[in-house]
Point group: C2
Chain length 406, copies 2
């Protein structure tokens, strides 16, 4: 089903607000069998709304409009739509009473100015708002349906989910299945090589896209035939299994948490260049206190020596950014905090501080379990933020691989 | 100057890519005297590109088109534009040679398939690409200018900055001045009350907008008259001075870094519920090693007691989430790491772990300087991520206020 999207708002045109609504709507519609084929953003202006609606082509079955609805707006969108569809608003006494009752419970009085929220179309319908007081509008015009929703993301999403997406699903022949395979530790070109046979043999009903980021490459598999998509995901997984840490919205820290829980192991961190980012990510997971004991952020050399117990001679001989220092950091944080595993990161995040011998981006990551200590050297980039992200991802992946093989 | 924006890409319509380009373009154009008044997103399709260009209204002086340009695309955008403008591509021998020379230096050979990157319009011009090999296109059609750029954000931004924005600036009567005042520690309603006189007295040439986030409220002041905007910013600053930590893209961690540097003070952190986020933010600032020594992430009670030296009796009597524990954490991390200031955060991040007495969101933040220890209690929200963000922001703001008054 072809669908047009019109997002209304001067804030969107001026770029003060990034249009995340459009992406959310496009993505969710795809999964219930619709396709946004045309999207226009215009200002809060009646004439522009009319002109935009006039530009919607004949092969469009439904139009979704967001923005310019609700108590803080001048309701330009509603007025424009009533005019355009030849409908007219009437006062909804029942809804007005229910609104007042809701507020009376909280000892508040509804200002008269909010009466426009109780208007409803004479011919069209209202779209219920499960999380707010401003309702949406649903008009029918010739062979097109027009859905009008607020621009507030929370309200828009709730109303899409409860009303518009089910309507699309009910009127289309089946949604697209999209599965994202999340990998790390391999570049896009490496994946493409390992998957070349699968990609070459693809027929039209399945699409594969590589989505590279600095923390890993996502592989998106999509198609209308659910079981064909799932089968392709299985084929890919066999080829590049060891780089896959999860699917769809899985985060590496979630996966590691589950693995540590299953193996009943605890973890402590010693972070230098990442400055606490690994600890922050680990504790983004609810329940992480079950396996994450804590860590030492040894940003200065004094803290590495005095609080983490890295030998002065190691620091002097090999430097703070060295495999030797990383190893001692990992071993010592494990002993000091009493954890099963100790993870350490030391590197030159940049933009300054690099030398010819030790350039910005050089990073050592170590993992100690009391029996052995694994140390790996990495050469990341020149950007501080990207280096911290890449280091934290690589460090977490090192734990994942360790736990896989244990 | 009224400008239309056409962004091309199936990935944008399907919502797999959020259209951050549009916001960047809208925002930067505003500052050189342009206005995006109409924005359309369409698929990679020649007919749709033509139909979109036909819908551009007469009051538009320039059209910016992004996407569908470059070696990985089928160059649909370029083909569509040549057809639409009645121009035709010719092979640019000079550019082809310079491309080949560039690659020869890196011992690479340019595949013949890349020859389309060396095409140039017969009547129109090429827009140089300072960071890549695919050039943009610039056509003139009746009274309109058409600029065609790649969709890759890095390349689009470089070409906008070096070519398109200067063109708009040269052809318009002056850009809008936008200054964002960044505040934290006060709600939107509090700001509105304190600024009510200023807001009531506003005349049309200045606009003020409140942009609330969980970490603070930004106040955006904008208008065409630069000195009037600056004067309004000064008036606002006098009223709400103590809540303002910076302007425009300033981050709280940048400001604190500058203040610590000026006062020649060092800082160490003891984090429980934030799990390393405060250290991570502090070390996002290049040069933070000048004042940030490191910290202890005392996520478990054992680490609080054994590594940070919080008294067992304090933990037993008052609990890990208490003002008493926060104070000891701050004092001890200061002593153990040898810093001038010790900052501590302990709280219940959620979603679980709350009780009636100590609900999710309850957080204690302490700052110790060796003479006194300030402890503050906060009640944040029920969401783990928001709680961590609010806690880290509030903790950094506590340092800012301390340093202001020192």
């Amino acid at each position: 089903m072809n669908i047009a999207l019109i997002t209304i708002g001067n804030e969107l045109l001026s770029g003060f607000t990034v249009n995340t609504n459009a992406a959310w709507i496009g993505n969710h519609i795809l999964q219930v069998g619709g396709n946004i084929v045309w999207h226009q953003t215009i200002g809060d202006n009646k004439e522009e709304i009319h002109s935009s609606l006039n530009q919607v082509s004949n092969d469009i079955r439904a139009v979704i409009i967001t923005g310019g609805l609700g108590p803080t707006h001048d309701d330009i969108t509603a007025i424009a739509l009533y005019e355009y569809t030849g409908d007219s608003p009437i006062f909804d006494e029942d809804y007005w009473e229910s609104l007042q009752k809701r507020l009376t419970k909280r000892n508040l009085k509804l200002p008269e100015i909010n009466r426009n929220q109780a208007m409803k179309p004479q011919k069209g319908n209202c779209i219920p708002n499960p999380v707010g007081s401003a309702r949406g509008l649903h008009f029918k015009m010739k062979d097109k349906e027009i859905f009008v929703l607020p621009g507030v993301p929370r309200e828009m999403k709730a109303m899409m989910t409860s009303s518009v997406l089910p309507w699309i699903k009910g009127h289309s022949s089946g949604g697209m299945t999209v599965i994202t395979i999340r990998t790390t530790g391999i570049m896009e070109s490496g994946l493409a090589e390992k998957l070349s046979e699968i990609i070459d043999a693809l027929i039209d009903n399945i699409k594969i896209a590589f989505l590279p980021q600095f923390t890993g490459v996502d592989i998106r598999v999509s198609g209308m035939d659910k079981s064909a998509v799932e089968q392709k995901v299985d084929e890919i997984s066999i080829q590049v299994d060891k780089y896959i840490y999860g699917h769809d919205t899985d985060r590496l820290e979630d996966i590691i948490g589950q693995m540590l829980n299953v193996k009943n192991l605890t973890l402590a961190t010693a972070e230098s260049c990442t400055g606490g980012l690994v600890g922050h990510r680990l504790t983004n997971v609810p329940g992480s206190s079950d396996y994450f004991l804590g860590g030492i952020i040894s940003y200065s050399n004094d803290v590495k020596e005095n609080n983490l117990g890295v030998a002065k001679s190691t620091l002097e001989k090999h430097g703070a950014v060295s495999g030797e220092t990383a190893a001692e950091m990992a071993e010592n944080v494990r002993l000091k905090l009493g954890s099963d595993l100790g993870l350490a990161i030391t590197g030159i995040a940049g933009p300054d501080g690099g030398t010819d011998e030790k350039p910005v981006g050089l990073t050592y990551i170590a993992l100690a379990d009391g029996k052995e200590t694994r140390v790996k050297e990495f050469r990341f980039l020149s950007d501080r933020k990207l280096n911290k992200n890449a280091s934290s991802q690589t460090a977490l992946n090192l734990i994942r691989i360790y736990l896989l093989n244990e």
